[in-house]
């Protein structure tokens, strides 16, 4: 094998999403164009003219989190621990074998333990800061997202890092995993992203006028903005050599990634820098634009994002760009989990041969004219896929996944 560059593969998926928990349910959700939209119940929504979101209402932490007491974790950590355990199970890697390996746990997030911070703010307003709950205070740091996975799986030789790079965080975390395996710094990586619906972020995006009243319609002429979502996507990644040695099922190879920063505005995306980020990712992955079978877009459904992103895609892909879909039409914007769920969707698309649809689509906006695979799944051989993400702070992250030719 080429020692200069170890191949990195995905052998396990852990998914907590509003369209299905577990890889199988998630895949069925993607293929059937399932919508996660419902009225928000996570917090009091009185005073908002509209309050739809893609909430997860069928998640019982105790069903998934078995190594630790779920009450010691906030909702976000529960999602993370559940998804990590699921990923290890899905990879068919025995837990005692996992514990014998050197691991990296790399978890992206936008808001960390936001539900606990919301609650602490409520309590503080009511009772004063001198009466805050000790357990809530202790479990509220974002670093707990990674260490909750460590505790849940009883890992010891492990580097647990939380990467709070906002709405591109999932791709950042996956990228870190790629580099760790390529460098020989980790045998097994649990990487992805996680977030839970929270009052603060809903209020902020609503105030900015970015919130859609009913549904999320990326690339549509009538799109009205984002819907907030939540969940976790954790990928189990290892070297190809390791996967082959244990006869593991391989979903896909993670070919590479690119990161850059607009360094222009804290909130507005920049088309040129985003286009450049795609070039960096393709170069790192060793593929060309014409190799890409579809793009899983950031596709938030705001006017600004979709126009800027499609502009950047047209810049990076001379001629007609590949089909460009947004699974946020189904999942809403799961914040730090979004691009991790995107990467999981790409892995499933490669394995099962389909391009997920962009649902809620009526009429493509001529200003962001792409083939968004409207409303109905498209069955096709999928070999190489690009997964986009952007974040506040001008942070761009793009991962590239491909069919693993060594089999599996």
């Amino acid at each position: 094998m080429d020692d200069a560059r170890r191949k990195v593969v995905i052998t396990g998926l852990g998914i907590v999403s509003s369209i299905g928990i577990g890889a199988k349910e998630f895949s069925e959700g993607l293929r059937s164009g399932r919508s996660g939209v419902k009225p928000i119940t996570s917090f009091e929504t009185e005073g908002y003219a509209h309050a739809n979101g893609c909430e997860i209402t069928d998640f019982t932490a105790g069903d998934w989190v078995v190594g630790t007491d779920p009450s010691t974790m906030g909702r976000t950590s529960q999602f993370a621990a559940a998804a990590a355990r699921m990923a290890v199970g899905d990879a068919g890697l025995p837990f005692d074998e996992l514990r014998g390996r050197r691991c990296l746990v790399s978890v992206g997030t936008t808001d960390g333990e936001s539900r606990d911070l919301d609650q602490l703010a409520v309590d503080q307003l009511r009772d004063g800061p001198e009466h805050l709950d000790e357990l809530l205070a202790r479990r509220s740091p974002a670093s707990r997202l990674a260490t909750s996975i460590v505790r849940e799986l009883a890992l010891t030789d492990v580097e647990p890092v939380t990467i709070p790079t906002a709405c591109a965080a999932g791709n950042y975390a996956i990228g870190h995993g790629i580099d760790a395996i390529r460098a020989g710094d980790a045998d097994v990586v649990l990487a992805g992203g996680v977030d839970a619906l929270c009052r603060k972020t809903y209020a902020g995006f609503y105030r900015l006028g970015a919130m859609a009243p009913e549904v999320c319609q990326p690339f549509d002429r009538h799109r009205k903005g984002i819907l907030v979502g939540e969940g976790a996507g954790i990928l189990l990644m290892e070297s190809l050599e390791s996967a082959l040695a244990r006869g593991a099922r391989i979903y896909a190879e993670v070919l590479g990634y690119g990161l850059n920063c607009d360094a222009l505005s804290p909130v507005h995306p920049d088309q040129n820098t985003l286009a450049r980020c795609m070039e960096l990712a393709l170069h790192n992955a060793g593929v060309k634009p014409e190799d890409i079978d579809f793009i899983s877009a950031h596709g938030t459904g705001t006017r600004a994002n979709d126009m800027t992103e499609v502009g950047a895609i047209r810049q990076a892909f001379a001629g007609t760009p590949p089909p460009t879909v947004s699974i946020k039409s189904m999942l809403g914007h799961a914040m730090g989990a979004a691009s991790a769920l995107g990467a999981a969707a790409c892995a499933l698309a490669i394995t099962e041969g389909f391009i997920p649809p962009t649902i809620n689509h009526r009429e493509t906006d001529p200003e962001c004219d792409v083939d968004c695979v409207p409303n109905e799944v498209r069955y096709a051989e999928v070999n190489v896929v690009q997964n986009n993400s952007l974040a506040f702070g001008g942070n761009n992250a793009v991962t590239v996944l491909g069919r693993c030719e060594a089999g599996g």
Binding site: G112, A154, A203
Partner: protein, 378 residues
């Protein structure tokens, strides 16, 4: 570039020796390296009484960056809405930028900015939630301040302020944060994503952070009852790149390792495993360790026992900074590293000498960083 050339390029980067070549701190001693080095190496405390008119907190003592404001160090333009965390990070990053400006201007895309932090500005975050709860409408929050509540604000704003267009990443990991940040940044450089990384940590003092630390029982629980704040930045690059740009490498980054002990595990045994694994990875024997910079935090007696057992009580130079500047939470290991660089500034580490930075976190984790000297044999 051909595929082969690209691989060769990457391989070259991957095996290159990485060094810290410059640093800058904003600490409770003030803005800049000299007051920090003088203070820490002479054992002078930077902790003072809390001004209750400024911070309504349950603590008596604080390690505050003296007389610090965004306007004072960054000017009035663009700082009106900047929170303290971002101002500290932008200021410290600026101190490092001043020492490598030509490289950044020549190729802003090849420089990364990696910033470690805790809750980020939990004051900004919870203030916004409060406004949502108390306003006439739940969305009556300040749209101009909303970006301050996003945890990567300080990193993104540092990149905007200094035009750093490479990877821009925020890292969080409690007291281990600085070690995780260096570990991440080293992989970015070795992976070919950038030529150099401005790698830092930042933590702000705020009433909200103080109350959360107080209730978590984490800051006061070990008798160390002052929270600190500040920001420390390090320039990480290959030795060859540093020399090409006329910067003399200060220390080599040899290894970072992390070991968990879980809720009921043994922190001491975990730290011992962690330190030994780090030294093995670094190719350094315990007798080569000349400087030891422990966290001296929550599990201090355990940490002390393990390090004494591994390195002996007297031979190495022990550098402790936490009792002088307070618990800087996510920035604390950054100040430990800065303290090692301050010591190495007075008496450089020889090529065959090493420094070890350790920490036992509050969340079941231990970490160890091994830095090697760059000088001749001692």
């Amino acid at each position: 570039m051909t595929a082969q050339a690209a691989l060769a390029d990457r391989d070259g980067t991957r095996t290159a020796e990485l060094v810290l070549s410059k640093w800058f701190v904003v600490s409770p001693y003030g803005v800049g390296n000299d007051p920090f080095a003088d203070g820490v190496l002479s054992g002078r405390s930077a902790i003072s009484g809390v001004d209750r008119s400024q911070f309504d907190v349950p603590y008596e003592l604080v390690g505050l960056v003296p007389d610090f404001s965004a306007a004072k160090y960054l000017g009035n333009k663009g700082t009106r809405l900047m929170d303290r965390l971002t101002a500290l990070a932008v200021t410290a990053a600026g101190g490092l930028v001043d020492q490598c400006r030509e490289d950044l201007v020549a190729d802003p895309e090849r420089a990364a900015l990696v910033l470690g932090t805790g809750w980020a500005s939990v004051q900004s975050i919870m203030d916004t939630t409060r406004d949502s709860l108390t306003g006439d409408k739940p969305y009556h929050v300040d749209p101009a301040k909303f970006p301050n509540t996003v945890m990567n604000k300080a990193a993104g704003q540092s990149a905007i302020w200094h035009t750093i267009k490479g990877p821009n990443t925020t890292i969080s990991g409690d007291w281990l944060t600085a070690l995780l940040t260096l570990s991440y940044a080293a992989r970015l450089v070795r992976g070919g994503h950038c030529d150099r990384a401005l790698c830092g940590v930042a933590e702000e003092y705020s009433a909200q952070r103080a109350w959360l630390e107080w209730h978590a029982g984490r800051a006061g629980g070990d008798g160390m009852s002052a929270l600190g704040e500040g920001s420390a930045f390090f320039l990480l690059e290959s030795a060859a790149d540093a020399e090409r740009s006329g910067r003399t490498p200060l220390v080599r980054l040899l290894a970072t390792r992390f070991t968990a002990f879980g809720a009921h595990g043994d922190a001491g045994a975990a730290l011992r495993d962690c330190v030994r694994a780090a030294l093995r990875q670094a190719g350094v024997g315990p007798e080569q360790v000349r400087v030891v910079a422990p966290a001296s935090a929550g599990a201090a007696p355990v940490e002390n026992d393990v390090l004494t057992e591994e390195f002996g009580a007297s031979a190495p130079e022990w550098i402790r900074s936490r009792h002088l500047i307070g618990d800087a939470s996510a920035a604390s290991a950054g100040f430990q590293i800065a303290a090692v660089l301050a010591a190495a500034g007075r008496r450089p580490l020889g090529r065959d000498e090493a420094a070890v930075v350790t920490t036992i976190g509050r969340d079941g984790m231990t970490g160890c960083l091994v830095l090697g000297g760059c000088g001749g044999s001692s």
